[in-house]
Symmetry: C2
């Protein structure tokens, strides 16, 4: 392999069809931000949109904005924009609540559709909050068994009791990506429904929920969708399932006629029945800005750049950090990886703290993973290069051994 | 009763100890806003705080803000501020999710504590979303009976099956207020726990949750707390119950160690276990501004002004709208009323539309209620006077009969 130079890499940026998207984000000049998979960057338009909704819609038009600015349909409007990113036709996605709350709703929906099947199956390595929600759900319901198995045993574990398999598409630790189409098919073949958590996928990899015959999905708005910290999450229900579902979290915004103030709940037609309480309008406005940008991007271009950035980072780590204790935690094959590269190191925590101190921001996932996210809309190939060089320097110099980098933060 | 003049009423404003609070809100000059009980007005500081959290915390400090700006403890920090308004010591309130989702959590908590008692009791006239949530909860659980009775039959309906009584403190239609202390005592005497929905109470009337031995409460952030449309809601759990509860909605933010990423859920100590997904940070910042203002107000002064405003409005309606078809829908005794006055009129809907067209903003609640909210922090007595005069003029002139006022809006 011929030696690569920073100039070579800079020329990739010049040829990058997504390059202009970078101008749509506020990025601190001195930071290499490899954590858009944890909290996406701030779109430039967000501040102005928030000022507008605060001053003009809340401040001036007050309660009238529910009609005048169509706040009432905001969850659906943003949902339809997200649907495009997920490969879904409109009417199957709403923006609402958190990923965890939405997962609870869909577990209820899926178990409700399961007939005599009442069990939930997931993998041991699933994102913890998804496991906690499934544990809370099954413990609460009492009659619903939760089975956790290793990834390799998933398909064989789908027995006649399993109503639903709940999985995260891209593993939060390793970045390994499930084959959504094939796994969905195998679940269906064995009589189970599937819920996909797309928190690390939406806006990161091309998705085809409709084509792939997916039943349900959830995902967050604050990673690759750049909706801001704690942005509303989303929820997808395939049209074919919608009318049969009675949501466990049945609130007025999911009622057929919320402002009739009837005593009895009657589910709204379609996807809206999965709304519950009053939607978070200000947060929805911020999310919409991020989603609007992402929906304009060509997801095949996003994927191609994402793979190339990941491959570049792995190559540079191989070439420059050899013998310094790093090993890839996820697939080398970019086709099997989401938009992140994870590296194991026994001293992963202080090394990540040292990187952050040098303004190379990734995150640490216990017990030993350094996680680097690649967000094609606002990262350049030279950023990947520069980050790898800082990593090399920190490892070679042992700078991570300084006592301040051992100190545990509340959030890692 | 001597005739009252607008000048008399203006002199009350001059003597109002709360008058200076009005300067802390952005209020459109031409609007008489009697709907702060539906969506509170915009505090002047909110826009700047949102700009700061967007630009400096999200945009510049990015993921680091979870530690650097203590985002991770935001739900508890805002909760502790709300606790003061509720008459509760810190550590018993968090800001999170929506009122409906929080009610679901607390129904799960209460039924979990109920032992052999599994039933839920509420009143038929409770706020619909609370009924829908209880219906969804009991339908989902299967083993939990939901009983709805008229208000007058509540206490006698608490039999040995009732685990929890769920009530709204101030009736959303009529403004009638329950005696929280006495009703809580009666529920306890009969072996049931109580959940109070304080959406129409928090920031409107003095509350003493600790003194009154309340078990659980929920409420919204967007009415009298002025947190913005769809602001995070709050949830109160008395300290004595906290350690025994296993929340049905168990997510990572309610885990003992969210960033250990353990496979098994272990509830956080105390009130934090009722957190679920990632908190809505931007919305939380807006809520905090509103809560901070309210927490500075003397709730006894708020209550005194609120009663006086309601009494003034009722007196003016009596004196000027006699024979025009209006009848009070709630108590004339201000001690039994929340911070709203509701009037019935067979043509309530078009009359409210005509009022709104004249910039007197209240809202309509089916089938026939005109609802006027009185928010002592930013309303003046002269506003009450002026609103009553517009109401009189619309009724006398029949202006509400114009066809455009018949048209039903999505949100009423």
């Amino acid at each position: 392999m011929p030696e690569l130079t920073r100039e070579d890499v800079a020329s990739w940026d010049e040829a990058d069809p997504l390059l202009s998207f970078r101008d749509e984000f506020e990025l601190p000049e001195d930071v290499l931000y490899l954590d858009g998979n944890s909290l996406g960057a701030l779109p430039k338009k967000t501040a102005a949109r928030l000022q507008q909704i605060v001053a003009d819609e809340w401040g001036r038009d007050l309660i009238r904005s529910w009609n005048a600015h169509d706040w009432i349909r905001y969850p659906r409007r943003v949902g339809d924009r997200i649907a495009k990113i997920l490969g879904a036709v409109p009417g199957q996605v709403i923006a609402a609540d958190s990923t965890s709350v939405n997962l609870f709703k869909l577990l209820g929906a899926a178990v409700g559709l399961g007939g005599s099947r009442t069990g939930i199956l997931s993998e041991e390595e699933n994102f913890p909050t998804d496991l906690y929600v499934a544990q809370g759900f099954s413990g609460f319901l009492g009659t619903c068994r939760l089975k956790l198995v290793p990834r390799t045993a998933l398909v064989t574990a789908i027995d006649d009791d399993v109503a639903v398999v709940t999985l995260t598409h891209v593993d939060f630790r390793t970045g390994e990506m499930h084959d959504m189409r094939e796994l969905t098919r195998l679940c269906h073949e064995r009589g189970a429904l599937v819920i996909w958590d797309l928190s690390h996928s939406a806006g990161a990899v091309p998705l085809h929920l409709d084509r792939d015959d997916v039943d349900f999905a959830v995902g967050c708005g604050y990673k690759y969708l750049n909706g801001g910290p704690g942005a509303p999450a989303f929820l997808y229900v395939a049209a074919r399932h919608q009318e049969a579902i009675r949501p466990p979290l049945s609130g007025w915004m999911g009622h057929e006629a919320p402002f009739a103030f009837d005593t009895d709940y009657r589910p709204a037609a379609g996807i809206e029945r999965h709304l519950c309480g009053t939607p978070a309008i200000l947060a929805m406005a911020a999310l919409e800005v991020g989603v609007e940008i992402m929906a304009r991007a060509d997801m095949e271009q996003v994927r191609a750049k994402s793979k190339k950035m990941g491959d570049l980072f792995l190559r540079l780590v191989d070439e420059t950090c050899d013998g310094l204790g790093l090993t890839p935690a996820g697939p080398r094959d970019s086709g099997k990886r989401g938009s992140q590269v994870s590296l194991r190191h026994a001293q992963g925590y202080p090394i990540m703290q040292a990187l952050i101190a040098e303004n190379v921001i990734g995150d640490f996932r216990a017990p030993d993973i350094l996680r680097f996210g690649f967000t094609p809309l606002y990262l350049r190939y030279v950023d990947v290069w520069d980050a790898a060089m800082v990593l090399k320097r920190i490892l070679e110099s042992g700078a991570w051994q300084r006592p301040e980098f051992q100190k545990r933060q509340l959030v890692t």
